[in-house]
Subunit: 253 residues, 2 copies
DNA sequence: ATACATATATGCTTATTGCATATAAGAGGC
DNA sequence: GCCTCTTATATGCAATAAGCATATATGTAT
């Protein structure tokens, strides 16, 4: 007998869910954007202990009724004022929703000095113009991953270096590695640009993220051959020289 | 003032860690192997409600003192009789330790009917000869991902189809997708072969996992050019025709 | 109208891949 | 030992793609 039945229902009715000690679970969201040719992340200044006044990833505890994806979208909305949806199904939202995807789960027993906290990290890609830096509490920081390092360094707009709370420097490093890897087989750079963009802009996105120069012709041919770009027939404006054609991402494919 | 200090210590001493409701957290481990030209997974038959007598991924609750990686290695050891060591640093073990890596975290609120359970899934790659199918409780099942589906179908050695407990069919599908993707840029097929293997065997691994035929010359050239293979100078034995050279994975690189 | 600065197109060179063919080599039969 | 079988390995060549240089096109600004 291996069907699920009333005996199982009886079991469930009598189950003591408090039998095991349980960790706390949070989601932390790496919000990446491009500004002035730099890869940056939106961070919030902690207003509580531990790590009071340290900069940290926006995050929050997972509520028992919400999925992890929902918790990440809630953090994006509440802490960063951004409307995000996981996955590529993104219909019927005000702005086109934001790219949001699970990154990795961090669970070192001492990563939070208060208690055992497991953090499911997400990352979001956001066009810079959508980001509001609210007062003193949220700000964009430039990211640098020293070669071979497993954590990032962060710098504010004056290029002053800061420390990060918890293990967030490692989480950011995993996010940067992930997006670099993903660029190799996915044209994810769109997500950091306006809906319509030129090939040059797209190449700049790749070059900024990968920290390398790319061959222009090769990049252009590869992108056009991928069939994921759709020419709009329109041209960019106000550039003082020959304007490039604007393309958009072919969502339906 | 943003340094961590005695005030923070006082805060921590008084912190009430029970303030929020917390989910349970488990690790589930997808143990993949190749047998007779099929990709298979090691599953265990549940001896408890819910899903009594259903086949499921080996798993267990994360203890408060152990990291997620440690919990996954413990499950591999205790539930599958495999000595898993996390990551690629693998010195001084009896068998060469097993490839084990975090896969994805599953957290739908109703994925477990007992209570809120978040599962951090791992996947392991194991050479078939290391796997013991113990009695009625553990067995290898062939995996099939129907095109476009987001869950796998499992079949026993008589090709009888079974259902899986919880959302484990989706977890397995994510694992298959992950290893397929990973083959494109990592020579991960080694992990499913003995220490020394021929190029033909390695190609068979790729073809089985990817479900495609590969060009032999191209595969051979690419693998040799990658610099990750090291010829041993030895030849395979007892094949009735010209034996191929045995290679090994260059661990130090 | 012309200069400017970059977009886009074209052609050539070089590297990579796919495919066909030739040669090599252990096992096993005689 | 010699021949055959079968697959491994090497070589050559055509097709394809990538890298690079050059030519032409085109909006803006003067």
């Amino acid at each position: 007998m291996n069907r699920r039945n009333s005996e199982e229902q009886r079991f469930l009715d009598n189950y003591d869910a408090t039998a095991f000690e349980r960790p706390s679970v949070t989601v932390d969201v790496v919000i990446l954007t491009l500004r002035e040719g730099h890869l940056e992340a939106l961070l919030v200044k902690r207003k509580e202990h531990p790590f009071l006044n340290y900069w940290s990833l926006p995050g929050g505890f997972v509520q028992l009724h919400e999925s992890l994806d929902e918790a990440a979208a809630r953090v994006l909305r509440q802490k960063a004022g951004l409307e995000g949806v996981v996955g590529l199904e993104r219909e019927g939202a005000l702005h086109p929703p934001i790219y949001l995807e699970q990154l990795y789960t961090f669970g070192h027993p001492q990563r939070d000095p208060r208690m055992r906290v497991i953090s499911v990290a997400y990352y979001a890609l956001v066009e810079a113009s959508h980001i509001r830096e609210v007062g003193e509490e949220t700000a964009l920081f430039k990211l640098r991953v020293p070669p071979g390092a497993d954590s990032v360094e962060i710098f504010d707009h004056k290029h002053k270096k800061y420390s990060l709370a918890f293990d967030h420097a490692e989480i950011l490093a995993v996010a940067v590695r992930r997006i670099r890897g993903k660029l190799g087989y996915t044209p994810i750079g769109f997500e950091l640009l306006p809906e319509r963009f030129t090939l040059r802009q797209l190449q700049n996105v790749h070059e900024t993220i990968l920290q390398t120069k790319l061959n222009k012709d090769s990049f252009r041919r590869k992108m056009l051959a991928s069939g994921m770009l759709e020419p709009t027939g329109e041209l960019e404006r106000g550039v003082g020289f020959r304007p490039a054609e604007l393309y958009r991402f072919r969502r339906e494919a």
